[in-house]
Amino acid sequence: MTLLDVRDLSVRYEPKASRPLDAVQGVTFSIEPGEFVGLIGESGSGKTTLGTALLRLLQRPGRISGGSIEFNGTDITSLPEDELRSLRWRDLSTVFQSSMNSLNPVVRVEAQFRDAIEQHSSLRGEAVTRRIRELFDMVIIDPKFMSAFPHELSGGMRQRVNLALALALDPKFILLDEPTTGLDVVVQHSILENVRRLQAEQGFAVLFISHDIGTVLDLSDRILVMYAGRIVEDQTAGALLRRPLHPYTKGLLGSYGDPREETVKITYVPGRPPDLSREMTGCSFAPRCPERIERCLETDPPLLPLLGGRAACHVAHLQHEEGGAGPHGEPKRGFEGPQFVKTADESRSALANEVVLSVENVSKVFERRRGFTVTRTEAVSDVSFELRRGEVTALVGQSGSGKSTLAKMITGVETPTEGRIVFHGPDGDKLVSGFKGRALRDYRSNVQMVFQDPYSSINPAKRLGYVLSRPLVNYQGLKGEELRERVKELLERVALTPAERFINRYGYELSGGQRQRVIIAKALAVEPEIIVADEPISSLDVSIRAEILELLNDLVKENDVGILYITHDLLSARMLSDEVIVLNNGKVVEKGPTLGVIRDPKDDYTRTLLDAIPNPF
């Protein structure tokens, strides 16, 4: 019997201050007992809302506005809370997105297992403790941490504890909502391995929500692709990879490439998802779709069975009816949108350029004084490398590997304890250390940073024109018409065109990718020699990451800047960088041309990082 049967489910948000919005629109799917189903979609596609609705945890102003959810034969769509409560956790449990926050911070971990277990079973006292110990063993955590408080556990451990908690009562169904977002790649990988093993052993069904199609393909039996509040494709993982039906799925798949190839191509989906609070006609993906036909703009394609799966695409259905020989041609495997290509040849020539920054045997020791005791931590030890003009060096490592400390020393925020950093600037060589006041300001006009989070790096109270004019006024003393011209030029340079349309807008009105473009434009304003980019794409949706990588790549080529690209992701390092430096515990464990390191990693740690890249191919 079907475990979870969702029919025509809609969720509507009706905020007092703005237009109502249908976040989930007529979604129908089912999950069989023991099935592992992936749900992918970019931010704002309604995937988390759908998950929350399934658990009946929607909060006002959101509510289920239509359809039904049947769980194990019981309609839970409007079941009173009292009756629902006995089902919760015993049958349906969950691991949330930000599990960093999903444990009560002031209560010991054990008590948070105990209340759930005692609520739903007849176990008491010592028997509960035994069960908790068993659960800790399942997720490979030492049971001594039972008596810990949540803050005493690392992020990865907390997420494992949450997983153990979700398994406490042998549920039939677990909703995993981006359970590893924000964790380190290596940790992420090992947790997901753990999930897969437990699922195989215990046979619970899973709905795994993620924006990362690579991970979803790795784990799931079947995949639902969500776009703008609807399911646009439903296929088994194998079929979806072999023969994606919906162009959006093709776009998501296109954002992956094999980093070992001589030439890597990744595609991206231009534009942005539609505003769900506005009425629209036709297919919601049509404006971004390279395969669109007349009919797509007129009628909304329903989700219909196709080749053993389901797809909501006119073109896919027509092509199938015509057998690939009709006017709509053969089904295409790839996404025929804009493409970013990186060849190994480009890197070879870039590595011969003139050096702009040299880091020589640099170490950084942090001292923490507490009373009379001093603790010394060596964050970076004996690191050397060179950054060239028109070249990108990737600094790869997991959190705590010392890559951010190194970036801080290069931008002049921290001073190295040993060794030296030399900037070969337009005014001759300069030692980067202990800059203050004017010297620091001068240096900053040569070295700029691009941060990870584009959402918090733009002043929300100012228009983009103002935001971009600040560095120009501060460093170059521009004003009036000249300033305005230069701001426009910057906007055009990062492809925010036409500039007039963006100059008077606010940062929050833009999509994540557009915001990151603004940040890059801001960094370019001072015409720097070096840009230090700290995980500039990790908070962006997969479908648009390549777009930002391409922009950075163009900047390197056209302006001869050197980019230090800090990341934990070797695939993006391959796409952008010419040389890669792998850091582990503050030490360089491997260094060399990117392709060489990826094809033939010498160090175990590099291999671990490579294995952690979800590789659906």
Binding site: S98, S99, V107, A116
Partner: protein, 329 residues
């Protein structure tokens, strides 16, 4: 454990600093206290009578030792609880004057504060749990309105209506004829005298707690651990109390401990309005009469009270929020 040890060490250091400042500040003021006293008694324009000044010096005692020796003997006197004689209640020692007022205030203000806190926190938590309900609107709007009023003004109203017009309660003092002590007539009188001042305080003091608790709790209700608690199928009462309220209470606890520390200072205006024989009224008197020894003792007492309360708040916070222990330890 180091957390608690450090907090206690910090308390001792601050206490020493307070005591020392209390010693130094009067000595840094210009002028001879004896001359000032005589001048004040004789009138501004009268010539200074040296004999009177000598007499006054003999009465107050003149320091002859070095500042260091004065400091040592000051500390000694302090340990023995000797704060000198009050000018206003001469020749009673300051400690005796304070001892008389002490219990009146402690009982009245402590009860008012505890009730305010408990009531305020409960109302605030319930309003947050049922947010946007009618109950919530009434509580929030009512609090915002009452919060603009001052307790002494409410005291005056109460005094007029219930004391003067209706005559249900006495209008001044702490008791009438009964002998103070553990006897029924006295307790009855004390309670009826304390009722109106307590009510004046109880109308206004809970408002801070209500609004504070409501806001923190609403913020907490959005946290993931609340969603998870609901997903766990725990009864609403458990989610509200063990998960939401337990976390939302943390900031209020510190505030409450500090409020209790302020108890020793009494409620100056309310006590004055009701002519209530507590520390607040005493403090008002001491300021008005320039009764330095009394004022100095009262100041020291309130500061120590606040410090102690602060220590208790810190220790309590360490117990209630395990994160605080680690963040600094």
């Amino acid at each position: 454990m180091t957390y608690f040890a450090r907090k206690f060490g910090f308390f001792l250091a601050t206490l020493w600093a307070v005591v020392t400042l209390n010693f130094l500040i009067p000595r840094l003021q210009p002028g001879d206290p004896a001359e000032i006293m005589v001048k004040r008694m004789a009138g501004k324009d009268a010539a200074l009578d040296q004999a009177q000044v000598e007499a006054m010096r003999a009465m107050l005692g003149t320091p002859t030792d070095s500042l260091w020796h004065q400091y040592i003997s000051y500390l000694g006197e302090l340990i023995h609880g000797n704060f000198g004689l009050s000018y206003t209640y001469y020749p009673f020692p300051v400690t005796e004057v304070i001892a008389q007022a002490f219990w009146w205030t402690v009982v009245l203000v402590t009860i008012a504060q505890v009730l305010s806190f408990v009531g305020g926190v409960v109302l605030g938590a319930y309003a947050a749990w049922r947010r946007n309900s009618r109950f919530d609107s009434v509580v929030t709007l009512g609090s915002t309105f009452l919060g603009t009023l001052q307790p002494f003004w409410i005291g005056l109203l109460l005094l007029y209506v219930f004391g003067y017009s209706l005559g249900w309660f006495p209008t001044s003092g702490g008791y009438e004829e009964a002998t103070p002590g553990w006897n029924w007539p006295f307790i009855q009188e004390a309670v009826s005298h304390a009722f109106l001042p307590a009510l004046a305080l109880l109308i206004v003091t809970p408002i801070g707690w209500i609004l504070g608790m409501r806001n923190t709790m609403i913020m907490n209700l959005g946290e993931d651990y609340i969603r998870l608690a609901k997903a766990k199928g725990l009864p609403d009462r458990d989610v509200a109390l063990k998960y939401a309220a337990r976390n939302a209470l943390l900031p209020s606890v510190t505030g409450f401990a500090l409020a209790l520390g302020g108890v020793l200072g009494g409620a100056i205006l309310v006590e004055t309005v009701f002519d209530y024989p507590g520390m607040g009224r005493l403090m008002g008197e001491a300021v008005e009469q320039k009764d330095y020894p009394l004022l100095q003792a009262l100041m020291l007492l309130t500061t120590v009270g606040v410090l102690l309360a602060n220590l208790v708040a810190d220790l309590l916070y360490g117990v209630l929020d395990p994160r605080a222990r680690r963040a600094e330890g």
